[in-house]
């Protein structure tokens, strides 16, 4: 298909379908991904099309799912597994950190694990406890993992395809709040690959840096700021690891002011890393400290209170106002 208007969930589904068609070592498994098609319908129709040997349900055991994927990848398969919600992946954390991340290094590159762990993450869906976590910082902190975080429909398709083709293990963070967001896309059009950030909007005054579900919020904030006379640029990271220092720093140097926007609680987070490394590299260009707009350092709130946790346009613009404009 060329130009279509589809949702991110549909784009991910199409990516899986196309990947499984292109390579019959690609497997898709997890809980409820078979007949049900996944609780978010991301795997809809795959079992029907490819059979139960290719897309299948497993017992309810996340460590087992990831561990089995490790073995499958060791023996010639390209497993794609789903953790039903990213917080449900915690039982698999040992497998991910002790083996998925370390196997290549442990064996000096003899064992490579071309596998993808898909995780719906982040909030804004009115979910009860434990359904809205943002756990990407744990995985970003683990050397040996590649952590990808698309924010657009086109990127969801392209980056999942590329993650499946990637020779090393990828933790694929799917912003569930955006699953139903529709965009008009051309799926045949190639997008930049893993490890490349993209400037979504140019602006001379300050730079917003975001990934996943905060990218559209940042873009909205930039629109409002423009109406107020301030031009903001917006960088969509697209990958957390590898981190695209070059694109991000070039963008920050152009303006001299930056705000990082992410849902995850801020302490010891991906946002902290972004501020640290951008400050290290762009210090001489900075007219003000880099600000962060993140979740509070609290467990993700219940649905009735989640709006206080999520970075919104106002909070972002307040942070932008704080960028020492009187100094320019």
């Amino acid at each position: 298909m060329t130009h279509v208007k589809i949702s991110m969930a549909q784009a991910l589904n199409q990516a899986l379908r196309d990947a499984m068609k292109a390579d019959d070592t690609v497997l898709m498994f997890g809980e409820d991904v078979g007949a049900l098609g996944g609780v978010f319908r991301i795997t809809d129709g795959l079992t029907a099309e490819f059979g139960e040997d290719r897309c299948f349900d497993t017992p309810l055991a996340e460590a087992g799912i990831v561990g089995m994927a490790v073995g499958l990848a060791m023996n010639g398969m390209r497993p794609v597994v789903e953790m039903q919600f990213d917080a449900f992946g915690y039982p698999a954390f040992e497998q991910i950190v002790s083996h998925v991340a370390k196997m290549r290094n442990r064996t000096r590159g003899r064992i490579t694990l071309p596998m993808v762990i898909r995780m719906p993450y982040a909030g804004g869906i009115g979910g009860v406890e434990h359904h809205s976590d943002s756990s990407e910082s744990y995985y970003a902190h683990t050397p040996g993992l590649t952590v990808v975080a698309p924010a657009t429909v086109a990127d969801a398709y392209t980056l999942l395809r590329k993650a499946i083709e990637f020779p090393d293990p990828v933790v694929f963070m799917e912003p569930k709040k955006l699953y139903w967001a529709k965009e008009e896309v051309d799926l045949t059009e190639d997008q930049p690959g893993i490890g490349t950030a993209v400037v979504r909007r140019e602006g001379a005054d300050a730079t917003l840096i975001a990934y996943g579900p905060t990218v559209p919020v940042a873009l909205e904030a930039a629109e409002v700021a423009a109406a107020e006379g301030r031009q903001l640029s917006v960088v969509d990271l697209r990958s957390i690891v590898p981190f695209d220092d070059e694109t991000v720093c070039a963008a920050v140097r152009r303006t001299g002011r930056a705000v990082v926007v992410a849902e995850a609680s801020g302490f010891a987070s991906v946002s902290s890393e972004i501020v640290a490394r951008v400050t290290e590299r762009c210090f001489h260009s900075l007219a003000a400290p880099i600000r962060r707009v993140t979740g509070f350092d609290i467990p993700y709130p219940p649905p009735k209170l989640e709006k206080y946790q999520l970075p919104g346009v106002d909070r972002i613009l307040d942070a932008v106002d704080d960028l020492q404009w009187e100094d320019s």
Partner: protein, 362 residues
């Protein structure tokens, strides 16, 4: 008891074909292995014992960081690989050094982890031996994945996955058996029950009638054998491998043995067990009984004994030769193996360390 339960539950007594005095016993379900197999096994045991003792000495000479010995458990170590074919896989724990070497992996490469110059020293695909690592039971789910992949490819590979008694308490043991059963994966889960997990005795690990009894919970047939009887182990493990290969799904085998020495050189076993608990097990030594049997059968003469000793001595030499010199380590290697394509951040950090080393006082 239904026939299902009979099929799934282990024998009432651990299978024993040669007792501790070297006397053979018949068994309704298992046959004594051929003499050639037992003679080969004898040599393997002698070599295995020497590996254990030489490696333990090398730790006390500062040549290895640590060595978790399988002294007294050599029958399990050796039986596990003797029943495998070339294309089959072995998934060892950190205590299964002898097993890995008996599979044909180079001894010095095997000991890389314990020497400490890298995390794993051998090519897993050369002999189909998974790398050792510290976490317990986590490799069991990998074993299931490897086995399932083989099935998907239409191969008749069997995976021998090793585990200790302590490891059976880990969640991954449970998940691996369950997955293996549900996916009908050709995995033989071989538990070496040596009665201790560091200082925690079996009674604190599980009160199941035996660890092999756990299999029925997953629908996996369990069997138990005397872990110091090479003949019994070969028979039981051999049958388990055959069944798995024939498509009967995963099998669980428990070997009753004993960890005669401490957990590692850095452990002091006198703090948690009495010497007189250990002594009876010295009488049950696997080499002792097999030697007695083979000698009584007239199968083991002085020449054969010398050949076995000679092979063991050669192996000991090889270990000493390989481990006395200081291993060559290259700090640059720290940044090379993480990803197929090195990231910019890896390059920067490698350059940082290079710069530091260049400024080091000679």
């Amino acid at each position: 008891m239904t026939s299902l339960e009979e099929r799934l539950l282990p024998s009432a007594e651990p299978v024993r074909l040669i007792d501790q005095d070297g006397v053979p016993h018949d068994h309704p379900s298992y046959r004594l292995p051929d003499r050639d197999v037992l003679l080969d096994g004898y040599t393997q045991l002698i070599k295995g014992r020497r590996i254990n003792d030489q490696a333990s000495a090398l730790v006390r000479q500062g040549r290895l960081a640590v060595y978790p010995s399988s002294h007294g458990q050599e029958a399990c170590q050796v039986a596990a690989t003797m029943v495998l074919r070339e294309g089959d896989w072995l998934f060892p724990t950190y205590r299964d050094t002898v097993s890995i070497m008996s599979r044909g992996v180079d001894p010095i490469e095997t000991l890389t982890l314990l020497r400490g110059d890298w995390h794993s020293g051998y090519d897993p695909y050369a002999r189909n031996v998974a790398p050792q690592s510290t976490p317990l039971a986590t490799q069991l789910t990998h074993a299931v994945g490897v086995a399932h992949a083989a099935r998907l490819k239409g191969e008749d590979t069997v995976v021998m996955a090793l585990c200790g008694d302590g490891g059976t308490s880990e969640g991954d043991f449970h998940e691996a058996l369950n997955f293996a059963a549900v996916f009908h994966a050709p995995v033989v889960f071989f538990i070496q029950n040596n009665e201790y997990a560091i200082s925690v005795p079996l009674a604190r690990q599980s009160i199941a009638p035996s660890l092999a009894h756990k299999g029925i919970g997953y629908g996996v047939p369990g069997e138990r054998a005397d872990g110091n009887d090479l003949a019994g182990l070969l028979a039981v493990l051999g049958q388990a491998v055959e069944r798995a290969r024939a498509g009967e799904g995963p099998q669980l085998v428990e070997a009753h043995t004993y960890r005669v020495q401490a957990h590692t050189n850095a452990d002091d076993a006198t703090r948690y067990r009495e010497d007189d608990e250990v002594t009876p097990w010295l009488e049950r030594d696997p080499i002792k009984r097999l030697e007695a049997y083979l000698t009584a059968q007239g199968l083991l003469d002085d020449a054969a004994r010398e050949r076995a000793e000679g092979a063991a001595a050669q192996l000991a030499d090889q270990l000493r030769d390989g481990l006395m010199p200081e291993p060559v380590v290259d700090p640059a290697e720290l940044f090379v193996h993480l990803y197929t394509e090195q990231t910019q951040q890896m390059r920067e950090q490698a350059a940082f360390l290079r710069d530091e080393l260049a400024r080091e006082e000679a």
